[in-house]
Symmetry: C2
Subunit: 512 residues, 2 copies
Amino acid sequence: MGSLDTNPTGLQLPDGAIDDADADVFRPLDSDDVRSDLHKAVDFVADYLQSVESLPVLPDVEPGYLRRLLNPTPPASSAPFDVAMKELRAAVVPGTTHWASPNFFAFFPATNSAAAIAGELVASAMNTVGFTWQAAPAATELEDLALDWLAQLLRLPPAFVTCGGGTGGGGVILGTTSEAMLVTLVAARDAALRRTGRGGVSGLPRLVAYATDQTHSTFFKVCRLAGLDPANVRTIPTGTETEYALDVAELCRRMQADVDAGLVPTYVCATVGATSTNAVDPIADTADVARHFGAWVHVDAAYAGSACICPEFRHHLDGVERVDSISMSPHKWLLTCLDCTCLWVRNTRRLTDSLETNPEYLRNDASDSGAVTDVKDMQVGVGHRFRGLKLWMVMRTYGAAKLQQHIRSDVAMAKMFEDSVRADDRFEVVVLRNFALVCFRIRARGAMTEEDADEASRELMARLNRTGNVFLAHTVVGGRFVLRFAVGSTLQEERHVRGAWELIEKTAEIGG
Amino acid sequence: MGSLDTNPTGLQLPDGAIDDADADVFRPLDSDDVRSDLHKAVDFVADYLQSVESLPVLPDVEPGYLRRLLNPTPPASSAPFDVAMKELRAAVVPGTTHWASPNFFAFFPATNSAAAIAGELVASAMNTVGFTWQAAPAATELEDLALDWLAQLLRLPPAFVTCGGGTGGGGVILGTTSEAMLVTLVAARDAALRRTGRGGVSGLPRLVAYATDQTHSTFFKVCRLAGLDPANVRTIPTGTETEYALDVAELCRRMQADVDAGLVPTYVCATVGATSTNAVDPIADTADVARHFGAWVHVDAAYAGSACICPEFRHHLDGVERVDSISMSPHKWLLTCLDCTCLWVRNTRRLTDSLETNPEYLRNDASDSGAVTDVKDMQVGVGHRFRGLKLWMVMRTYGAAKLQQHIRSDVAMAKMFEDSVRADDRFEVVVLRNFALVCFRIRARGAMTEEDADEASRELMARLNRTGNVFLAHTVVGGRFVLRFAVGSTLQEERHVRGAWELIEKTAEIGG
């Protein structure tokens, strides 16, 4: 209490004394309150999803807008639940970029479903912390089952599936692709350090990781986190000749040059469906080259992995039986709300070697028996949310056929959009459309230079996004400004894609 | 489709052809379905919380139990929502370790509330991915506000509070303490590498981190993740003379010895409320020593930080104005369901220097203006769930007084339990009770050796946990087996604590 002077706002906090009202018993999980409050929250959610189409996709707010609407200091006393819901409606919704809007075409969509939200709701109420099997047997085993089910839908090889029986592979559900990259990179790093016989981390400056200029930026961050020398992280350039995919011959040359220089090829990140362009690196050839040099191959299929539950897209994973690990995020394109990234590894022992901890306070008979894997040993942290429930609910409720239908419908709508762009000679489609992302730009025609087309495309995007009727993002490919039109927001129907195209046509016309 | 042979289970997946039923439009976010399914899920949740007291806290299941109850292959076609709910009741609930049970006394409790679950529900339906301010202005700003509110309740110094105005401090809500430690350790690591003038990571083997033998195991894992040499991670022993807290004089000696040996003191993790014993490291003195050697000080107040919203516990944070960062987890003791770890840093620039990425596809005017912080630059990954909503809902709905009442009630119940233990000479309380954790064991009396008392305590715990009527965890302190009785599961009332004590008394009698 000698620290009152450090209270920056002068908020009056009650001291030891409790007044009459506060002497009432406080039951924050009273089941009547839970029922009543959550039914209200459900109605809010259903109303929101029903009306989100009519809201501006990008809100018209300035940085700091919320501070002007809500109290800068925390309330001293309690308020009815409705007060928070009222402020949510008045202050939060109007400042939201509506990822749930059918007019959202930016980034990759965050798809969602009633089953997933219900699963998350139940998980947040059960609120298990499944660091070990003992701490949450059902959560550990349902996560395991959900991973096996999804592995079957993806036709992953038996090495990655627990029920395949004793091959040593398995998976874990993490929060983000970044964590999947980090834990596999650290496993690869430690294996390389052991293999090259240097004690401790003195061999670290010799380890090298490889990716392309289309690989997600988080890969490069993860390399920094794990202590790799940024100078030893190779970015292999891509271009139209490989449709922006990894040039495996170049990978091979780089690895050989590194070996010749006394360095140790350690980790290759291959992408199926890169963020900018949806490029697909050739997994099989990459794995062959990497294996020759003893490097770990991780496949990042965060977005496009979901498409591979359809036989017609599964060929993008050909060769996966030769890689060390693969991750994909159902929170992107498999109707499962954030967060849910599935990681499978061929040999869980290589992960747990780097990530295992055994504090006395978590020891228990099941762990000691060796009959269970404790998820704390396959992730960065210890605490583990029950993410498997929502993923299992999605597959259990919708089944393979509906999930495939969902993917195909998005791809069909993207193709429709692509056809429209191709039919209008003011535009060009810049890269091969592999899935449901269309990358296009204004075409340089007549006196218009490529730089003019960059500027016109940028201006078109700004003007479109200001309408509030659509939200598109952009990227730069081959030095050129490109609009990304990502189909697939869950509420999206053909009419929204057609509407967006009409708006683009009209806006481009006005822009000249 | 040439990969059918890699399908390990022979599951028949529909090919390109879609049958009549599947040709129906699939609307996984249809608002009528959302409303109906979620109302059912709410009733499940309320019923569960109402009945959880009657369920065995630790389930009587063997590893692999779930595979015998659920289908090993994913369903090909859809099923009514009720099917998943039915299997949830039949297969998941009976295999759950019930963290929500009022008879759960293990680990630290995962406290929860109606407001938090509602906040999580709304967040999972809005499903924003707030990597940048532009991608979710309301989510970014509400997270910021929630962090400021909580900082005020904790009386953190203005340096950590955004609204303090331009001091460069701020915060972010992460998933786990481990991530908070990782990002701050990496920031400290990179600053030390720059300061010591070595290029790249060649200076890494010289960096040293410090903690005590009571520090959470995840700290040592995080050091490995960040590439520190395990031989350079100092574990300072503790004992009864400091009540298991950090011996600052010893820290100073170790740091000086490391400097003398040409090493670089880089990071100190001080804990407020250690997991095993609830020990509290002396923050002010630790910060003074660390500052002298130029090391970063992080305070891990994961559990006990919540208690510091009460003036009578705030002194445990005295000196926090001199540290570099502090984290605490409302998902432990502040009624906020998983996951929610708040990290505040004195200088956000030191974090973003290490964690910033700027891929073209995330560039936007708001970020370019410098007027906003993008949370992607303060965490491991890119995607960011809207965790601020539930934390804000908790503070908005319950207010400071009720939250303090909640803490005080738990501490009072723990004191009551401690008094009971002290009054029974078959037991001893092993460490000072700082908060709501009581560490006790069977006392070695008469011919009983300390080893006998270890065994008797272990046997007592096993017998108690087998009843299903309570769940206690254990630890080892000073080489001795100790039972941890953690009060605070949200549904807990005095009668549960009394009941647990009666069961312990009775079970010890039978055993003795």
